[in-house]
């Protein structure tokens, strides 16, 4: 029984008092596949007695079934949780692990090695205080080591352990250790300034320099890993920074209490402090710092509190309460570094939702200035950012936000991009600085073409061409369809006889020549509208095949959708909504389609709507389904 166990057994209260006030260190382990990350974490859990007997039993049987260590325990199996990973022997997602010692509680994010999981690694890094970079002593610094240290340092990690692992396989050779450390220090000069690096020679498998100094490395004078992790100072820079708190929730239980709830992002706050709420820039004084169980004399970074003001200042979710003397900046155009995390690439001109603090706004990517090769850290020209690409962009928001540059404040300078269609988190961003409104904006660099216009509307343009007899139900269906598309957030316009013949085509009659000219003009208007990115619903009798073919030829391939509203003449005539059939039969209207002018039914329309069997409502739904199945609403 260790001395810890003895204390637990003898004086549990003393043990608990001591352990209630431990500090917390969050770290990530990263490096290439097979460098031994999972083995190291398994070892830390094992050595800090965080593995129970039943888990050990399961581990032993798993080791025999899937393990890579023969009859020995495969510590990696403790960490690689998902069965798919166990089968493939790799780690595909961040796994969070917990262990504690007398001095600290640790949260470990074990992050994947493969390049295609860089985004998962960034997920782990965003909340870490420290990074352990695993290096295989036989292989030295690899591309992946460089990529991971770049991402870790970009995300603000200032402490790194260079874990030079598998020293047992290089005979614990000091020269190997020295060379790798030197290589890394040279490379690290290109990373952000102020990074502390501790190199430790170790073998996670054999247990060298993990919890105790190893006899195999007498030449190494530094601390073993566990000692370093227990003692490395985690100065919370956030507490020294100016006060910031994004408002998450307005707390209003009754008319007498109005508080603003949030987690203090940086600095501290106490009653009497002058504060400014941004972006409105109104100033007030803090009255109370409320938590359950009694007010605080002072709230500090990291705490979740509720603030009340001395006077009524209109403040809502997403606003940032700041120290009045040192407020955050407010702007709506920025330069930022972005790590793209989605298969669909980031395109300049496209709009995304941007979430920063408790605020969600719409952002348009103006320009991708350049990409950064995460393996060499060199700038490279780029037109788009694909999965796991890193680049520098400029962007504009639909409204101003409060922010600090990311390098000054991780909490108020980091943001995520959310795709407006899929709702997925597609990128992370680090704000560098605000752009001046008039100055260096690159709108002109952006070709606003039909593709961009459609993307902005998040739809594919279409010309839905309804053809059929007078009274067949074309306009009724088109109008219902437009309402439905509108409700889906689609941008549409209906062109029909009523709004075209009374204006643009008021000089045209109903002779065959005029009918052709009518359709020619309508087709051109529809073409312009589809260039503008709209879904255009054209509702015209358009009796002749050749004119409908002309319209089809005019449109971009695939955008023309011919919908034959197939209503028999008897039915249309019976409906006679506008009384036109009656007048035509009476001889008052000449050249009436279906009576004394022909209607040429389409031979191969994209859709046929039978209005006898289905309602206009059902017809509209059918069209939407047809479009959805063909990917019309995915961009």
């Amino acid at each position: 029984m260790s001395h810890i166990d003895a204390l637990i057994a003898e004086d549990i209260t003393a043990y608990l008092e001591a352990h209630e006030n431990k500090s917390l260190l969050r770290f990530i382990t990263c490096g290439s596949v097979d460098d031994g990350k999972s083995t190291l974490i398994g070892r830390l859990l094992y050595d800090s007695k965080m593995i129970f007997e039943d888990q050990l039993d399961a581990l032993e049987s798993d080791s025999k079934r899937h393990g890579t260590q023969g009859e020995n325990i495969d510590f990696a199996l403790l960490v690689d949780g998902l069965s798919a990973e166990r089968e493939q022997g790799i780690t595909i997602d961040v796994a969070y692990r917990f262990f504690s010692t007398d001095k600290r509680k640790f949260i470990v994010a074990d992050t994947p090695g493969h390049e295609q999981y860089t985004r998962n690694m960034a997920t782990g890094a965003s909340t870490a205080d420290l990074a352990i970079l695993m290096i295989d002593a036989r292989k030295g610094i690899l591309t992946q080591t460089r990529r991971h240290s770049f991402i870790a340092s970009s995300l603000g990690i200032r402490k790194m352990v260079l874990a030079i692992n598998k020293m047992d396989l290089v005979d614990y050779d000091e020269a190997v250790y020295n060379r790798i450390e030197q290589d890394f220090l040279e490379f690290a000069e290109e990373l952000s300034a102020g990074i502390e690096i501790q190199a430790i020679p170790m073998s996670a498998l054999a247990g060298d320099n993990i919890t105790e100094h190893s006899d195999n490395t007498p030449w190494y004078q530094g601390p073993p890993l566990m000692e370093y992790l227990e003692t490395v100072p985690v100065d919370d820079d956030r507490i020294k920074a100016p006060f910031r708190m994004p408002v998450q929730w307005v707390n209003r239980p009754n008319l007498d209490f109005r508080g603003f709830s949030g987690q203090i992002a940086s600095g501290s706050v106490k009653p009497g402090d002058r504060v400014k709420t941004l972006p409105s820039a109104k100033e007030t004084t803090i009255e109370r710092v409320v938590v359950h169980g009694g007010d605080l004399k002072e709230g500090i970074a990291g705490q979740s509190v509720t603030l009340t003001f001395a006077d009524e200042v209109d403040t809502s979710r997403g606003d940032v309460i700041c120290a009045a003397g040192e407020p955050a900046e407010v702007a709506d155009q920025f330069q930022a570094r972005v790590l793209w995390m989605a298969d669909n690439e980031m395109l300049p001109g496209r709009r995304y939702l941007l979430k920063i603090g408790a605020k969600t706004v719409t952002a348009t990517v103006l320009d991708l200035k350049f990409g950064i090769d995460v393996n060499t850290l060199q700038d490279k020209p780029a037109k788009t950012l694909g999965l796991n690409d890193f680049g520098v962009i400029t962007m504009a928001l639909d409204q101003p936000i409060a922010f600090d540059p990311y390098d000054l404040n991780r909490e108020t300078g980091g943001f995520i991009f959310i795709d407006r269609m899929t709702n997925n988190t597609v990128g992370l961003g680090l704000i560098d600085f605000a752009l001046r409104r008039a100055g260096n904006i690159h709108w002109q660099a952006l070709d606003v073409d039909r593709i961009k216009l459609a993307e902005q509307k998040e739809q594919k343009p279409a010309v839905l061409w309804f053809t059929g007899l007078s009274g067949s139900g074309k306009s009724t269906i088109a109008n219902i369809l437009q309402q439905k598309l509108f409700a889906m957030g689609k941008h549409t316009f209906v062109l029909d006889g009523d709004n075209v013949r009374h204006g643009l085509n008021q000089d045209l009659g109903f002779t065959d020549a005029d009918r052709v000219e009518n359709i020619r003009r309508v087709s051109n208007v529809a073409k312009l509208m589809s260039d503008a990115g709209l879904i255009t619903l054209v509702s015209f009798i358009s009796p002749f095949r050749s004119e409908r073919q002309m319209a089809r030829n005019m449109m971009t391939d695939g955008e023309f959708v011919e919908i034959f509203v197939d209503t028999p003449l008897e039915v249309a005539e019976q409906r006679d909504v506008k009384g036109l059939y009656k007048r035509a039969r009476a001889g008052e209207i000449k050249n009436f389609t279906g009576l004394d002018s022909p209607y040429e039914a389409p031979e191969a329309p994209e859709m046929v709507i039978n209005t006898v069997e289905q309602s206009a409502e059902d017809a509209a739904d059918k069209i939407i389904t047809w479009m959805r199945e063909r990917g019309w609403f995915e961009v």
Partner: protein
């Protein structure tokens, strides 16, 4: 009642950094508030266990002086310990929160229970199916759960905001990146989110926090004389007359307590004399087997939890 925190003492001494419990608490409160602010129709799944007790306490703290702006929901398999039900009803009333209790009526009518249908069918019908029914019935878009990442290997990889498809499935290979404390709670029609505010807590953290905050928990966690029988390798309590007669006849009084609480026939008791929180923590720290060992459902097969989760188990 809710305990007074020791924050005052802390701040009086002008503490400049937070302890691990302070940080876990602040993180959980942030997560709970975020859901309240963005969800259209959130609910807190309340299992009446110690993790739920901590989660509920955190919710109360998050919104003080307001009452948490969402209801509690208990999926009642009808096989829970009677003491749990009493505790649940009293707690909701004390806090002034709405309590929704849902049971699978078809399951009840079919007489489903662990003794007759086995643990895995019982759990599937009365717990997993019942939960899906309840979420569909009330159209909740976000449901809080008290799961922790240290409980089990597949949970170690789950996000705090965990997405479920319209048929409640979890896709472990397609999880959204979760950066900083910026949670993306946007979903499409029919999808939902399970949100785990105490993801980063360990079992020891839970106990320490219960002790620090003096949070009331169901007395079954403390040792007491209870009638128990041996069934399928576990010591289970005879909580009512639905235990088969043959089995019930073998009951003996023993001093036992429970490390987790669920359906009484599926919850193994441990012999113990731990009567105070300190005793329990002491036992927990010195024990040799992990918490879930008492739960029969996890032992069925390797990676069983991951499989159950993909199917919609919480």
């Amino acid at each position: 009642m809710w305990g007074k925190t020791n924050l005052d003492q802390n701040w009086a001494n002008s503490v400049t950094s937070l302890t691990h419990l302070d940080r876990l608490e602040a993180e959980a409160i942030h997560i709970i508030r975020e859901v309240a602010a963005v969800a259209e129709n959130p609910v807190m799944l309340y299992s009446v266990g110690k993790d739920s007790a901590v989660m509920l306490h955190l919710a109360v703290k998050a919104f003080y002086p307001s009452i948490p702006p969402f209801p509690l929901m208990h999926v009642d398999t009808t096989w829970k310990f009677r003491e749990m039900i009493e505790f649940r009803n009293r707690k909701a009333k004390e806090l002034g929160m709405d309590l929704i209790v849902h049971s699978n009526q078809e399951g009840i009518e079919a007489g489903v229970g662990p003794f007759t249908h086995g643990s895995s069918r019982h759990t599937d019908i009365m717990k997993t199916q019942a939960l899906k029914q309840a979420l569909d019935l009330h159209k909740f878009d976000v449901a809080f759960g008290g799961a922790r990442r240290d409980e089990e290997k597949s949970r170690a990889k789950e996000r705090v905001f965990s997405f479920r498809t319209a048929d409640h499935r979890w896709d472990p290979k397609n999880q959204r990146p979760e950066l900083w404390n910026l949670y993306n709670a946007r979903i499409n029609q029919g999808e939902s989110i399970r949100c785990f505010p105490i993801s980063n807590w360990t079992e020891l953290d839970i106990w320490q926090y219960i002790r620090r905050e003096q949070i009331e928990i169901v007395p079954l966690y403390f040792a007491g004389k209870r009638p128990v029988v041996e069934w399928e390798g576990s010591l289970i309590m005879v909580d009512d007359d639905r235990v088969p007669e043959e089995l019930a006849k073998t009951a003996v009084e023993k001093s036992v307590r429970f490390r987790t609480l669920g359906c009484y026939p599926l919850t193994g008791a441990v012999e113990s004399t731990a009567a105070t929180l300190e005793d329990i923590i002491q036992e927990t720290l010195l024990t040799n087997s992990s918490e879930r060992q008492g739960r029969t459902i996890d032992r069925d097969q390797a990676a069983s939890m991951e499989k159950k989760k993909q199917e919609g188990y919480f």
